[in-house]
């Protein structure tokens, strides 16, 4: 099973190094406007959410593309744009539910996460693991364990409280 990008926004410190390395890797420049990942911030609440392409199984961008420039790469479990075919109509930008299909106004082309061909730099550079690259089957397992821990811990506390009554 191919890997997926998993975002755990509660870990994010908002430093934006993911945006920086993404634009350097893809365009050779520092410019978050050209990054495929973006941290959406609520500064006055300290809430930071990294947003990137979810590589949807049934991708709206793929469905809406009038020239079939968007296809699914099963080996890396990603949605890819064929720039030789793309006409730059930005319909994909309009339909993406996550705002993760962007239009690069300098290169005049749509851009999206390509998982750095299997070695995503945003993951490599994120020291707090707010962005992880894990096997798709593991995504829920991690959450499951943490939820189970929280739940069983609470149950134990309740049991202990009852025992002391």
């Amino acid at each position: 099973m191919a890997k997926v990008l998993v975002i755990d926004y509660e870990r994010c410190t908002g430093c934006r190094i993911c945006e920086l390395v993404c634009s350097v890797k893809h365009e050779g420049v520092s410019n978050p406007a050209r990054s495929r990942i973006k941290i959406v911030k609520w500064e006055t609440e300290g809430r930071y959410v990294p947003m990137s392409c979810q590589q949807c199984e049934s991708a709206p961008c793929q469905a809406v593309c009038p020239v079939t420039a968007i296809s699914r790469d099963e080996t890396l479990n990603r949605v890819m744009i064929d720039y030789d075919v793309c006409i730059g109509c930005r319909m994909c930008v309009a339909v993406c539910p996550f705002g993760s299909m962007a239009f690069d106004t300098l290169a005049k082309k749509v851009i999206k996460c390509d998982l750095c061909d299997g070695d995503p730099l945003c993951v490599k550079f994120c020291d707090v693991d707010a962005v992880q690259y894990v096997d798709a089957s593991e995504q829920s397992t991690v959450k499951q364990v943490s939820a189970a821990e929280k739940w069983s811990g609470t149950m134990q506390k309740v049991a202990a409280a009852i025992a002391t009554v």
């Binding site: 509660e10 410190t13 420049v29 520092s30 410019n31 006055t44 300290g46 490599k124 550079f125």
Partner: protein, 635 residues
């Protein structure tokens, strides 16, 4: 490329705006940010101008590596003649404003004159507009950016702003960005306020070309591994900078009750580990893996439920140790008040602690305080005085003037209790047991300050070979170095070396937590030379970068001397020499600074700099650095 960012000259009186490129020659001489600001200040600020008058100049800048693949390349610098000291004013802060400024096409904004009504600057991809600020004048540091974002319809705009304290010309008002990134010390907020300039809003989507992207990515990753492997950074990333407060307080190296004691006892509630219970996670500046800032929500009282960030090491000392307040919630609320008003935490805490000592000694009475019982350990009085200072009410109006002016107005021998250098209150650390740290605050260019030349690693008792490895590059040094922080020997070199180190990163725009400031294994001149080449293509050897720092430090010194600074200003108040420390571990008890040996340290320090016995740069020093014909008006 990263070197094509421009200088904008903005005249608020006439509304004229002019932009100029920065010649490579100037880059090689001063790199950028604080270094080039020193040059611009010396060239554009006429001697003797009123710091709060229209002839003073405010310069906002970002370092030459800001926004690039140099870790923590986030820093913004603000310079101008200080309304607090009358000497070199300088403030440096992290956050996200600096990178945004560079994506918008600028490295330096030189702001002159005075607007006839409150304005703010809107800077977007190379364009600059002076806009009416009536919707934000009077607003707090936290509200102002949100109002601007709403007004201009872009939630990603970054804002540098002053709070009500800056508008009210409190002489130690900050410039701020984000929630708590503070350009503190020396009153740069009052300088902006005096120009009727409330804020600078900035947004950029212009490329900064990375010269060698593949290698720069790889090298950045190596540096990140170095940064994250450092124990001190791991601790900071978990507990925030209050951990330094905890570590120094446990030894007895902090000021308590103004300057009466050197350790805060029975202070469990304000230990870093106790404060941790309020932290809801950590936040970081641009591209930084240290993420030293805790996020918190005020748990109780009138401010319950409000979000803020911090408190920092300095707020712990200034709001806890100095006024002798021991409740964690007081620190959280106090930190919030200082952030929204835009007040310098160290200066505010010191001014209030000084006033508390005056009140307890009967120099200030209930009449002066309008009935406020301004005693040490009175948490409510501490918070109340913050409001009064920011709003310039009653005694607050006097304290808002800063140490020397306030002492003059209060009179009655109050000056004797002031703890300051060059008219800037000392930070909260007690340097009596540590001559190196004492020399640092006595000689720092912007007044008493730890971020200009403090050899903080002197407190670690590092083995001599480790010290030698750090302190003998890129310039050879074979003089004495000792592991004992109570010694005087070799310390002037350490202070001199750190002064070069901090100036270098202030020119590059990198945070000091990514240097040998606290972590002896962290990046140094060697790494900066490589980072500079990979990111910008500029080839400067480690020694070249040292020379840039040397040049810039001399420019700052020249500025201060032109404003009348003499050797006697590089000195400490008498209490450092006359009152021994009373508390702490045995090594720090009963310590004072020895006058004669301190004088000798200053001689040595001047000698390392190539300055004469009066602290004036010798002609040959300036000639060697190519700044013997200043002001040269190249920019």
């Amino acid at each position: 490329m990263a070197l094509n960012r421009k200088i904008a000259y903005i005249n608020l009186t006439t509304g004229e705006i002019e932009t100029k490129p920065i010649p490579i020659k100037m880059r090689r001489m001063f790199l950028g940010s604080r270094g080039l600001d020193a040059y611009l200040m010396y060239n554009h600020i006429k001697p003797g101008v009123d710091p709060l008058g229209p002839d003073n100049v405010a310069i906002i800048s970002a370092g030459v590596l800001v926004g690039t693949l140099a870790s923590a390349s986030s820093r913004t610098h603000v310079g101008g003649k200080s309304p607090l000291t009358g000497y070199f004013g300088s403030a440096n802060m992290g956050g996200f404003f600096g990178p945004e400024m560079r994506w918008a096409g600028f490295d330096h904004l030189v702001i002159k004159g005075k607007a006839n009504k409150p304005v703010y600057l809107w800077i977007h991809n190379g364009e600059i507009e002076i806009r009416d600020a009536s919707s934000i004048w009077g607003k707090t540091v936290h509200d102002t950016p949100e109002i601007i974002r709403e007004e201009l319809g872009d939630r990603d705009i970054k804002v540098l702003t002053i709070g009500p304290a800056g508008e009210n010309l409190v002489r130690y008002a900050n410039v701020m960005t984000g929630i708590k990134n503070s350009g503190g010390r020396s009153g740069m907020g009052a300088l902006l306020g005096s120009k009727n300039l409330k804020a600078v809003a900035i947004r950029g989507t212009m490329d900064i070309k990375i010269e060698h992207p593949v290698e720069a990515l790889e090298y950045n990753k190596r540096i990140i591994d170095l940064i994250t492997s450092s124990k001190v950074n791991q601790t900071q990333g978990r507990l925030g900078t209050p951990f330094i407060w905890g570590a120094t307080n446990s030894q007895g190296l902090v000021r308590v009750n103004n300057f009466q004691l050197n350790q805060l006892e029975d202070a469990d509630d304000v230990e870093p580990e106790s404060l941790d219970r309020f932290s809801i996670g950590m936040t970081g500046c641009f591209g930084c893996q240290v993420h030293c800032r805790p996020k918190y929500i005020i748990p109780e009282g009138p401010y319950k439920g409000i979000y803020d960030e911090g408190p920092e090491y300095t707020s712990m000392g200034a709001l806890s140790g100095e006024p002798g307040c021991k409740k964690a919630v007081t620190i959280l609320v106090g930190n919030h008040l200082l952030n929204i008003y835009g007040l310098d935490t160290l200066e505010t805490g010191s001014m209030i602690a000084w006033a508390m000592e005056l009140y307890e000694k009967g120099i200030l009475t209930d009449k002066d305080t309008d009935g406020l019982e301004l005693r040490f350990g009175n948490d409510e009085a501490l918070l109340e005085m913050m409001h009064r200072i920011a709003r310039r009410e009653g005694l607050g109006d006097i304290l808002a003037e800063g140490p020397l002016r306030a002492a003059e107005r209060i009179g009655k021998g109050s000056i004797k209790y002031l703890i300051h250098v060059k008219g800037m209150s000392n930070l909260h650390s007690d340097e009596r047991p540590t001559p190196s740290l004492a020399l640092n605050i006595a000689t720092a260019s912007r007044g008493s300050d730890h971020l200009r030349s403090r050899p903080a690693i002197d407190l670690y008792h590092l083995p001599e070979p480790v010290l030698r490895k750090i302190y003998s590059q890129p310039v050879p040094y074979d003089g004495p170095l000792t592991s004992d922080y109570r010694d005087y020997e070799g310390k002037p070199w350490q202070v001199f070396w750190q002064e070069m180190c901090y100036m270098a990163v202030d020119c590059l725009g990198i945070c000091k937590y990514h240097t040998t400031f606290l972590g002896p294994t962290l990046p140094n001149f060697e790494e900066w030379s490589k980072l500079l080449y990979l990111n910008t293509g500029l080839e400067l050897s480690p020694l070249d970068i040292w020379n840039v720092a040397d040049r810039a430090n001399n420019m700052e010194r020249l500025f201060n001397i032109r404003e009348g600074l003499t050797r006697k200003d590089d000195w400490l108040v008498d209490r450092y020499f006359d009152e021994p420390t009373k508390l702490g571990i045995p090594a720090v008890r009963g310590r004072t600074i020895d006058r004669d040996r301190f004088k000798q340290m200053i001689d040595e320090y001047y000698e390392h700099h190539g300055w004469d016995e009066n602290g004036v740069p010798r002609p040959e020093t300036l000639q060697k650095l190519g700044i013997d014909k200043e002001p040269s008006h190249m920019l």
